[in-house]
């Protein structure tokens, strides 16, 4: 069972192993390779077959939980010791600190919105962008255009006992999920995408490997919410019969046999340190 650690606490060996596995998945030419994960996210941001799976809906959290599990398994096929690290942006708030160091994610874009120039993903020879809304073949960042969410804001979101609420979309006001996703203030998830900028702000955001560290942190915060309010299936909403969204026991495409109910309790698959 994997233990997901904060990026700031990884050893140099753990950082190197994570980077190497990500690059091997990128180099894979068939099957569910890195670019499959990028295009899958692009597809599922919008509704598929009239259902909102990945964003602007209750299944935002369980869909991404499964997405991270699939990505982590893909990395572990290359190196069984690898787990996805998380970026706790309430603590690591600098464009030069963890995880944006030369031995992990690399730093800001050149000139504030250009290609990343440091670290293992700098330049198209090291990390070539192929599926994107912009023509840059090099990873780009434009960091710090807004303010990262604070620990106090996280605490306020985790204090909301209702998982989600009608109308179960980006205009829901009274549940935890839309605040976590960020269409409702205080906006946790969306803010960090915007703060990194460049590819992280685009529909093809998984092109920036820090996507996984950010979503790992979002998943960790959901796990903290579950620790406080319950991992049991009664804590997920809606339970059944809701058009256009994924109810508790409905399948989350593109995976087979995976529902919100099957991923709620992750503690036998991975834990957070």
């Amino acid at each position: 069972m994997g233990v997901r650690k904060s990026a700031r606490n990884l050893t140099s060996g753990e950082k190197a192993a994570f980077v190497a596995a990500v690059k091997r998945l990128k180099a894979q030419t068939t099957g569910r390779n890195y670019d499959w994960f990028v295009t899958t996210h692009m597809t599922y941001f919008a509704s598929v077959g009239g259902i909102q799976y990945a964003h602007r809906s209750p299944s935002f959290l369980p869909w991404h939980r499964q997405y991270l599990i699939e990505f982590e398994r893909a990395l572990q096929a290359f190196d069984a010791t690898v787990s996805i690290p998380y970026w706790d942006w309430t603590v690591d708030r600098s464009i030069t600190g963890a995880p944006f160091t030369a031995d992990l994610m690399g730093g800001n874009g050149s000139g504030g919105n250009g290609p990343v120039t440091t670290g293992p993903f700098a330049g198209s020879a090291n990390w070539r962008i192929t599926a994107s809304a912009s023509s840059s073949t090099s990873l780009r960042r434009a960091m710090g255009s807004n303010t990262l969410p604070t620990a106090a804001q996280v605490t306020s979101v985790l204090g909301i006992s209702a998982y989600d609420a009608a109308p179960w979309n980006s205009s829901a006001t009274s549940g935890m999920r839309n605040r976590m996703e960020g269409w409702q203030t205080p906006n946790l998830h969306n803010s960090a995408h915007v703060w990194v900028g460049g590819h992280m702000g685009q529909q093809d955001s998984p092109n920036d490997p820090v996507f996984w560290l950010h979503h790992c942190n979002i998943d960790r915060l959901w796990s903290q919410w579950q620790t406080r309010w319950g991992f049991d299936s009664s804590r997920y909403l809606p339970a059944a019969g809701t058009p256009g969204v994924v109810d508790l026991n409905e399948t989350m495409q593109p995976w087979t046999g995976v529902t919100p109910a099957t991923v709620l309790d992750h503690r036998n698959t991975y834990t957070y340190a």
């Binding site: 919008a46 994107s132 809304a133 460049g198 702000g201 685009q202």
Partner: protein
């Protein structure tokens, strides 16, 4: 805002603008070519040609009889399409307002209406140009999203 919601303002904004414009409004009724929203733009920004059109609604849509009305916001940067997607958001005073994201600014909605946010589409477009810098949009940027409404 008064009793008119942002959504209504968005939907009827073009019609209201045509009525307020008086004589200009009559021209809107007379010629399809004038079925153009006053918020539409075509200009150069940071070395890129940008063009944006708003949905044709109300009186203006009627004047464009025989043509397929433009039902969504359209943006082009250097002639390449940037897909714009509607996002329902909690409104400041309760209820729902509509924000817009693009393939380039995917996590930061911009409000567009005929009132205080009448420059919303231009703002969205300029933000995309700021991100693009010396790069261009690809075909993926113009690929249509499903619309939830």
């Amino acid at each position: 805002m008064s009793t008119v919601s942002r959504r209504d303002a968005l939907r009827y904004g073009a019609a209201a603008a045509a009525v307020v414009a008086g004589v200009a409004g009559a021209q809107v009724l007379a010629t399809p070519a004038a079925a153009r929203d006053p918020r539409d733009f075509e200009m150069e920004y940071r070395g890129k040609k940008i063009k944006g059109t708003h949905p044709v609604t109300g009186v203006a849509a009627l004047s464009a009889r025989g043509q397929r009305p433009n039902r969504s916001h359209e943006v082009y940067i250097n002639g390449r399409k940037l897909s714009v997607m509607e996002i329902e958001l909690p409104a400041a005073g309760g209820g729902v307002t509509i924000g817009y994201i693009s393939a380039i600014n995917h996590y930061e909605p911009v409000l567009i209406d005929a009132d205080r946010n009448s420059n919303g589409l231009l703002k969205l477009t300029k933000r995309a140009v700021d991100v693009l810098g010396d790069t261009e949009l690809t075909a993926l940027a113009g690929a249509g999203h499903d619309h939830v409404r």
